[in-house]
């Protein structure tokens, strides 16, 4: 996951896949050898400081060869610069300082593309052990972990809040069936909604209309049971006329509504 963009973000170097590509045409890849990419990575990690030949020598020892180290180094650096040119780099990437080491070219600006620096990737490059960048990487990692923690916390909080809201708005109980006894009216037992008081307008009005209108069940009989509901608007009153107690199934209930105006559009 180690990627760098160079030359004002025109060239990208992917250290894991060991390729160069122009940032605006990622398909145009130029492959580097493992040695070349290790050297380049080492130089990039030095952040413009001189990388001494001793440090580079360690990398070269991993791939033993007959050719003397000095020649190999010159060749490798020339090759890196040539490959960068192939990927449309505007100039040389690495300058060699003869007999001492090499350094990143001055016009190269490096920007790390490390979004997800996994511990594995971190462990993969013990070769480039150099105190300064290592410390820096750790600092960056700590910060991102902190942010990730905060983000995860916020996400959890968000989910918890949503669950609470869901519980709050969920219908828990309805007042459709909570009735209390009100009284006897001729052959009819009257019940009123538990939240209504006996002397409220709704109850008195419904009782007056029950006496006046004498509603019948569909079979023409006087309803033995009357349940008076709460009603939110005064244009209506709402009740159930029942043959059997409303709690039971097949209670023969019908809705009885009294309107004192034209039916409104619901």
């Amino acid at each position: 996951m180690a990627r760098f963009v160079l030359f004002a973000k025109s060239l990208c170097f992917d250290a894991d896949q060991q390729v160069f590509y122009p940032l605006n045409s990622p398909a145009q890849r130029v492959a580097l050898s493992p040695l070349q990419s290790a050297v380049l990575r080492r130089v990039l990690n030095a952040q413009g400081k001189l990388v001494r030949n001793q440090a580079l020598h360690v990398l070269f020892q991993r791939e033993p060869s007959e050719i003397p180290f000095a020649d190999r180094l010159t060749l490798t650096i020339a090759e890196i610069n040539r490959l960068a040119q192939q990927a449309h780099a505007p100039g040389a990437l690495v300058h060699q300082v003869p007999l001492i080491g090499c350094v990143l070219a001055e016009q190269v600006d490096v920007e790390s593309f490390n979004e997800v620096a996994t511990p594995a990737a971190e462990a993969e490059k013990p070769v480039t052990v150099q105190p300064e960048p290592a410390v820096k990487a750790v600092a960056v990692k700590k910060k991102s972990w902190l942010w990730r923690g905060v983000l995860a916390g916020l996400l959890l909080l968000n989910v918890a809040l949503a669950l609470i809201i869901r519980q709050e708005f969920a219908p828990t109980e309805h007042d459709g069936m909570q009735f209390k006894f009100y009284g006897q009216e001729a052959q009819t037992q009257v019940f009123i909604n538990e939240r209504l008081s006996a002397d409220s307008f709704v109850v008195q009005d419904a009782m007056r209309r029950f006496r006046e209108l004498k509603p019948r069940l569909p079979d023409g009989s006087v309803p033995p049971l009357l349940y008076i509901n709460r009603s939110r608007i005064r244009a209506f009153s709402s009740a159930f006329l029942c043959l059997q107690p409303i709690e039971q199934k097949n209670n023969g209930c019908i809705s009885w509504l009294i309107s004192n105006q034209e039916l409104p559009d619901a």
């Binding site: 949503a162 969920a170 219908p171 709402s238 709690e247 809705s255 009885w256 509504l257 619901a266």
Partner: protein, 156 residues
């Protein structure tokens, strides 16, 4: 590119629970058959009584059909009511949205259209939407609750 994708994922992760809460509300079962017998005594104009039963079938595919059969009694005369309506329905949490597509008056229906428009619930009028709550009673029946309107009793 990666960063914006990640940001997008995080934003979606924040929105998702709320979308779930709003769209997937705890629901009560919708009965396939619902019989609502009702009587309306209208003291306003026109004075009269409407005795009717709405028998609705809520099919599982979201379509529905209902018949409205009854009588309308005015002081001077009586009408027969017999209409069939086709509708579509869906749940929105514990709410119910019913859209009446087509209403057909049967041959023996004698209620004049202007009167019908005045006295029938919107569920018996073409291209009307009704938004109401249905909640289940312990005995398995349901109560239908329009906002601000009287409750209706649905026998299942």
């Amino acid at each position: 590119m990666r960063k914006s994708l990640l940001t997008l994922v995080v934003i979606i992760a924040f929105i998702l629970p709320w979308a779930w809460v709003l769209l997937v509300r705890p629901t009560v079962v919708v009965p396939e058959w619902c019989d609502v017998p009702y009587r309306i005594d209208n003291e306003g104009k026109p004075t009269g009584t409407l005795d009717a039963t709405v028998r609705t079938r809520f099919k599982a595919d979201g379509s529905g059909a209902s018949t409205l059969i009854g009588t309308v009694t005015l002081p001077d005369r009586q009408y027969r009511l017999n209409r069939v309506s086709v509708s579509s329905w869906h749940r929105q949490g514990d709410f119910m949205l019913v859209n009446t597509r087509k209403v057909q008056a049967m041959a023996d229906d004698t209620v004049p259209e202007p009167l019908a428009a005045q006295i029938l619930f919107t569920s018996a009028r073409e291209s009307h939407s009704d938004y109401y709550q249905m909640y289940q009673l312990p005995n398995g029946d349901q109560i239908i609750n329009y906002s601000g309107m009287p409750r209706l009793y649905c026998h299942t």
